[in-house]
Symmetry: C2
Subunit: 402 residues, 2 copies
């Protein structure tokens, strides 16, 4: 198996670079970038003390990062002090940036995020993508991508890569959609359909939602289970700050964990899968509602109004989620479970029964469950930030390519 | 959370050592040891080419390993050749060795394994440990350990550490048995009860069985789910050649994954857990047999004789395993599932229904299931080899301590 590109991208601090002189230099460049990104603005001396290298070694690295436009100097720090003032370093708000895009079942989106993590351009189109050809969808998505890239270009940003979130199983090549049931896509190589000028990484939306939580949310530990939904239910398993991808890249298919071994048949081939109880379509059916646009909004609005059928349907969905999550917690022993994506907006009505199942099936204290504040924004942000992280993890790749 | 000792032990190739001069030297010592261990006997030149360092650098490292007795020279290789003969290097069959011990519900065992991986001394005592105090059990285990250590000492081996397999939840400190239901042990610090002269690592038996499979079995990939049983059912999740331990060290509790949400109550606090269908006691009950000694042997013998109640019980247990394994495969996407421990001996009667469930619940080709050849020996071997791996992963620790 070849090491997939997006694996290196999420590895953190370039840890996978080899122990050659060149590899150590690149790893140290990554350390400087990550340190300034996490702790900055910082003086060169502060960076040196953070990463345990000499001031001289850090100065050489910093000069290289300044030349390639990845860091910038904010001017003299502490001007009142005696001696040569240390200049504060910050991650550049210009130059390389991450482009994110999302293929939702009912929308398309694109954004540009700078190396500081700020969203600098964003565009969304609503409308169903069910039954549309991959060519038609990617053509529209390409137009959105070009729109946000042009807007970001006017602000001095240039794309270092493109991350795309798709609701389906993605091969470990980071390009091929093996199966996206709700789009009816099979074995689609997106690299042939998206703008060729940006290095491409396609990933599952639940994975990118989980990574966004890891990278962007405050107070999230490095071991958690991120449970999310668009139409289907997916999960991201984060262990020691890394996404568990699985052999084929298909890990996290919580929606197809059996919760009733003899329950209804599922299109996946299984029976009684979680999605048959807690998937959006199952919940709408149980609530007596018709599928349409903004289904989550409709469910949330009806539940908030006190609609008993909707509340009952969400209660039962939460209980089914609780059974599947109990199994996952027993297998993985995460520090927390985070409800993200569309589930975040329904949390007030899902959480009580979910937490009750988890508690009654656990001898000691149950694994805590929290709600993502990124919610449905997670996958798009994760897509753009996967590019930003790749730059932070191996700044030399961008500097050399510039 | 502090980094637990046995985490470094299983990390492989000293990857977690820091990038200081000293750290790089220790990492390179580990590379030499791992290379000779995996590929040896090898000349210095062959080692150098394997790990990509200069012949001179490798010679310095090899000399250090020879001095500390971790490597030995087998004498001139290819004596017919012209020029200075290269001397073949091998891992030492003397000096540091790993001591393994196992607390089973119905037996105690200890062994010594040399750095080459050979078992050089072994002792077993049969008899139930249920209801016995930790003090009484560990006193008997200590006698066994001293017996095998003395026997190994006569062969020139000295213990580099002690690994102990326990059927229960072990804290990440690698010392404390948080809960071992079948022994009725709670919060027992084994470091206070076992010989103080050996560095101690206590681990869950399912974890050690999985690690033994990773380290010792041929053709096992670096991503797999190892499902095993003594009385309870446990699993080891191996990802990229590393054991997934979980936040508290409790990962792999497959026995408490719900397979029937409203099934019978389980002592864990849950309902319808896998152990209620496929645990040894559930299977004996379903087969109409009384619990006694060598229950697995009894089940296997009766099944081999064609006892229909026993075969039916094992068929149903296999189906329940199939439901739980389907969930785990959907979450983790392993390359294979391996049946180990007591399950290996029952595989002929468990596998058909297990594989049938997995296949009928999977759209594409189902994850392959294989049977461990280590079987019930896995945890004891894993315990001893965890010490051996720790030496290979950081040879300097032993050299300096020698």
């Amino acid at each position: 198996m070849t090491a997939p590109l997006h694996e290196a991208r999420t590895a953190g601090s370039g840890r996978s670079l080899p122990d050659t002189q060149q590899g150590i230099r690149r790893r140290n460049l990554a350390r400087v970038m990550h340190t300034v990104s996490a702790e900055g603005p910082l003086s060169r001396a502060a960076v040196a003390s953070h990463i345990g290298l000499t001031r001289a070694a850090v100065s050489t690295l910093v000069d290289e990062l300044l030349r390639s436009g990845l860091l910038e100097e904010l001017g003299p720090a502490r001007p009142g002090r005696v001696g040569r003032p240390g200049s504060a370093l910050a991650v550049s708000g210009h130059g390389p940036a991450g482009v994110g895009a999302e293929v939702g079942v009912d929308h398309l989106a694109a954004c540009v995020v700078d190396l500081r993590g700020e969203v600098r351009a964003r565009a969304v189109r609503h409308g169903t993508n069910r039954g549309r050809s991959p060519e038609a969808v990617t053509e529209e998505l390409t137009a959105l991508i070009r729109e946000v890239v042009a807007e970001a270009g006017q602000q001095g940003l240039r794309p270092a890569g493109l991350g795309v979130a798709v609701p389906g199983l993605i091969a470990r090549d980071g390009r091929t959609v093996v199966r996206a049931p709700n789009l009816d896509w099979h074995d689609i190589d997106l690299s042939a359909l998206l703008p060729p000028e940006f290095p491409l990484t396609v990933d599952n939306e639940a994975n990118l939602g989980g990574l966004a939580e890891l990278w962007l949310a405050e107070g999230v530990p490095s071991d958690f289970l991120h449970v999310s939904a668009e139409i289907g239910i997916g999960a991201a398993v984060v262990v020691d700050g890394r996404l568990l991808r699985g052999t084929r890249g298909f890990a996290g298919e919580l929606g197809h964990v059996p919760v009733e071994p003899d329950g209804p048949a599922c299109p996946c081939g299984g029976r009684g899968c979680l999605e048959q109880y807690a998937g959006e379509e199952a919940v709408l059916r149980a609530a007596g509602l018709e599928p349409g646009e903004d289904r989550v909004g409709l469910l949330a609005a009806r539940a908030a109004e006190g609609d008993r059928a909707v509340r009952r349907a969400l209660h039962d969905a939460g209980a089914a989620l609780g059974v599947a999550v109990t199994g996952a917690v027993n297998l993985l022993d995460p520090r927390t479970v985070v409800l993200g994506g569309a589930l975040a907006g329904l949390a007030p009505w899902l959480l009580p029964s979910l937490e009750a199942e988890l508690a009654r099936r656990t001898a000691g204290p149950a694994c805590p469950v929290s709600v993502s504040r990124l919610g449905p924004e997670g996958p798009l942000l994760g897509a753009a930030h996967s590019v930003v992280r790749a730059v932070l993890d191996d700044p030399a790749s961008v500097a050399e390519g510039a």
